[in-house]
């Protein structure tokens, strides 16, 4: 599996190269700034890119913006964004094109090597890997008159794990039930959120997005999103 890495701190860049190489990835290019990242993504067309959100030249959210730009040019290009902190705002932007292959994780998670490698693979396969912290931030919110309010407690729990990117089988293992039981829950969730039948991958992304978007009410969400570019 071919991977491009973007990380400006040499210490972490080398660590990522070593870690991913040791787990069967082929690191085709490792860059330390945003302009070179965009070029690498366009020229190498990797199976997945692991990108630090903060990159030169501005040291703000250059990595995220470059990833979004790359996905505009190559829809569905799998990217996993790493950051020292997570923002729901960014999670929503990453998922907003609804085409999957998105990861957004705290850098801490690299420390859990097996799980991290699994997340990179999942993103490369078009799945999602949302950090548990994004989800836990959402859980602090009160329930409101919104589609999510119709979900049962268990369905919310399943949706939260779905948002992290877990498969039905993995969710079933967490709850100690069969994956068939989880399948019933996910179908209920899709129905309650009004998601039309489509391939399972896509519907999962949509459900996660619905979860993230059940946040503040904006008079014109479309305008708000385009204003960020």
């Amino acid at each position: 599996m071919r991977v491009v890495i973007a990380e400006d701190l040499a210490l972490l860049r080398d660590g990522l190269i070593r870690l991913l190489s040791a787990h069967g990835f082929e690191v085709v290019e490792a860059v330390d700034n945003a302009p070179m990242l965009l070029t690498a993504l366009m020229e190498q067309t990797p199976d997945v890119a692991v990108i630090d959100v903060r990159l030169p030249p501005t040291y703000t959210d250059e990595g995220l913006r470059t990833a979004l730009e790359a996905r505009r040019r190559r829809p569905g290009l799998p990217v996993l964004i790493l950051s020292q902190y997570v923002e729901q705002l960014y999670a929503r932007e990453l998922l907003s094109d609804r085409s999957g292959g998105i990861g957004y994780l705290l850098k801490d998670r690299i420390g859990d090597v097996a799980e991290f490698v699994e997340s990179v693979r999942r993103v490369a396969d078009g799945g999602t890997a949302m950090d548990a912290e994004v989800i836990s931030q959402l859980l602090t919110r009160r329930s409101r008159d919104e589609p999510l309010a119709e979900l049962t407690t268990r369905e919310r729990e399943v949706l939260a794990l779905m948002a992290e990117g877990l498969s039905n089988l993995a969710i079933a293992a967490r709850f100690g039930v069969t994956d068939k039981a989880i399948g019933k829950h996910t179908n209920n969730i899709f129905a309650k959120l009004g998601l039309p039948p489509s391939d399972d991958h896509n519907r999962r992304v949509m459900a996660v997005l619905a979860y993230l978007e059940a946040g503040p009410v904006s008079p014109d969400p479309q305008k708000r999103r385009s204003g960020l570019a």
Partner: protein, 338 residues
């Protein structure tokens, strides 16, 4: 001279407090009219007697000077008897007299202004400048206090959080290094791994409280939007700025917005809230409203006072409209260049 006697009596009378107060306020009103601005009263002090003393000397001296000039001019005119002399002498004298009169009028006007300024200086409170110095002193003290408290908090958080956890990490790794039993070493490494993760989480929270990364990334509008996403009460946002203010101003307004939203969550029992951010002609206006129970009072809690203090460091103001029963609207205005 009778005139001087009258003045002397006036000055003597002016030492009687009631009359003096009336004189002072009369003089202040007159000075205000002459200068085209109000001259606010100052607290009684040594300056009022100084004003009286100066007037007691300068007033009669001026009268004497005017008397001398007028009598001498009239004397000169009589002695030259211009009517009997040639027209050229008459013309020269007339011109000289006119010039003298104009000069006298100009001097009188200047003297009047000087006296008004003197009255303002000695009887007024020093005007807006003194007021401004008082405000600045207060806001600077508040800013310094807030900064000191903030640093203490950061120090304590580091000491009890990340620092302590890293000590635990090192301790566990040290034990693991010298452990004979591989199974025990593995356990110790596992613990060190956990502690390192918690240290990271602590540092992350700390950084968010000092300067939220999203504020640096996205500016004020983006950061308020991100904070609104985390607010338990649904928030409608309408955030438009024409430029990017200085980082300290951004930070003050960001934390003011966060504090306002946290107030909504904690106290208002609102079902909806809204935030509006706009550039005005000479700064930024941030309005946070909710449909809650109202009754917010800046004297009651530290939240609103904290917002007002944050803003006052930049000459910003907080206006609270919150009748009992609601709704509550906080208007924050801060002058700055955009």
């Amino acid at each position: 001279m009778p005139l001087n006697a009258i003045l002397g009596v006036a000055v003597l009378l002016a030492w009687v407090p009631g009359i003096r107060a009336a004189l002072v306020s009369l003089q202040r009103a007159w000075a205000g009219a002459a200068l085209g601005r109000t001259v606010p009263a100052r607290a009684p002090g040594p300056r009022v007697p100084a004003w009286l003393a100066i007037n007691a000397v300068v007033g009669p001296a001026l009268l004497v000077a005017v008397f001398v000039v007028v009598t001498n001019t009239v004397g000169v005119l009589f002695r030259l008897q211009p009517m009997r002399n040639s027209p050229s002498v008459t013309l020269t004298l007339s011109l000289a007299l006119l010039t003298l009169s104009a000069l006298a009028l100009a001097i009188a006007a200047l003297m009047g202004l000087a006296e008004a300024r003197l009255a303002e200086l000695l009887l007024g409170d020093g005007g807006s400048l003194a007021q401004r110095v008082r405000e600045l002193t207060a806001s600077r003290a508040a800013a310094v206090d807030a900064r000191a408290a903030e640093l203490r908090r950061i120090e304590r958080d580091l000491h009890d959080g990340a620092q302590a956890r890293l000590i635990a990490v090192r301790m566990n790794l040290g034990l693991a290094r010298s452990a004979d039993d591989p199974e025990q070493a593995r356990k110790l490494i596992e613990e060190a791994w956990e502690s390192a993760g918690q240290a990271l989480a602590d540092l992350r929270d700390l950084v968010r409280g000092i300067h939220p990364p999203v504020l640096a990334d996205r500016g004020l509008a983006g950061a308020i939007e991100a904070a609104a996403l985390l607010c338990p009460v649904p928030v409608t946002t309408d955030l438009v700025l024409t430029g990017r203010p200085e980082p300290p101003v951004e930070s003050a307004l960001y934390f003011a917005a966060v504090e306002a939203m946290s107030n909504v969550t904690k106290h208002s029992q609102a079902t909806r809230a809204w935030v509006r951010l706009r550039s005005t002609g000479h700064g930024i206006r941030l309005v946070v409203g909710d449909d809650g129970r109202g009754g917010a009072d800046r004297a009651a809690g530290t939240g609103l006072r904290g917002i007002a203090e944050r803003l006052s460091a930049f000459d910003g103001t907080l206006t609270v409209q919150s009748p009992p029963g609601g709704p509550t609207v906080l208007t924050m205005e801060l002058p700055c260049a955009l």
